[in-house]
Homo-oligomer: 101 residues x 2
DNA sequence: CAAACTGGTTTGCGCTACAAACCAGATTAC
DNA sequence: GTAATCTGGTTTGTAGCGCAAACCAGTTTG
């Protein structure tokens, strides 16, 4: 089976709406915590947890766990690699969408 | 679990890259056959078959089977509903992508 | 001390995208 | 004429994934 085209396939890790939402927020806000991410994305705790785990494994985000007093607090941050990947994704998708124009 | 946002969720049926590729081609070309779609999308026969079946079920495309002489020929066409859905998807995604600016 | 809340992780399941196997009919080779 | 090949697909099998629910550790409140 030939592959004539330069591949229309976007980065699947980013393409998933839940993760795209996470990345979009981190792209805008620099540093957020779990609860905030959950509220903004509308994801459940479980989904948010597994999505962020995947993004961390890919090196797209950093997860930092710390204690504020006695309360655990996890903050999420976009890495440089994540920022670049997101930018690449944006350009890729814009190219596709523009062709629909 | 609250849903504070107006939902970032795109139409999953369109969001899938394989189907988006099919729809993009049909959006541009009006009427194409199976082999052409396969070459352009890079999908295998099986995937193309099941993706088009789903798009037809959703009412986004029409599938017309006919014989040219003795050779079967299936042509695919975007429906009005499909065109509208695709347009909605494009606007939706552009909104998200623009916010990444 | 028990109940409830915070801040998550782990588990279980249904769906789906993918490739491979299959299939029917037409054509070509022998 | 019959066996192999090609065209044009559909059906089947499976691995992976997104989802929600269950669970869990620690803290605060009653």
């Amino acid at each position: 089976m030939a592959d004539e085209l330069p591949s229309i396939d976007p980065d699947r890790l980013i393409h998933e709406p839940g993760r795209l939402a996470i990345l979009a927020i981190l792209n805008a806000l620099e540093e957020v915590d779990f609860l905030f991410l959950m509220e903004q994305t509308g994801l459940t705790k479980g989904n948010l947890s597994s999505h962020t785990a995947k993004l961390e494994t890919a090196g797209y985000i950093e997860i930092e766990k710390a204690f504020v007093g006695k309360v655990p607090r996890t903050v999420y941050r976009l890495t440089e690699a994540g920022s670049e990947a997101l930018d690449g994704y944006r350009r890729h998708m814009e190219g596709i969408l523009n062709s629909l124009g």
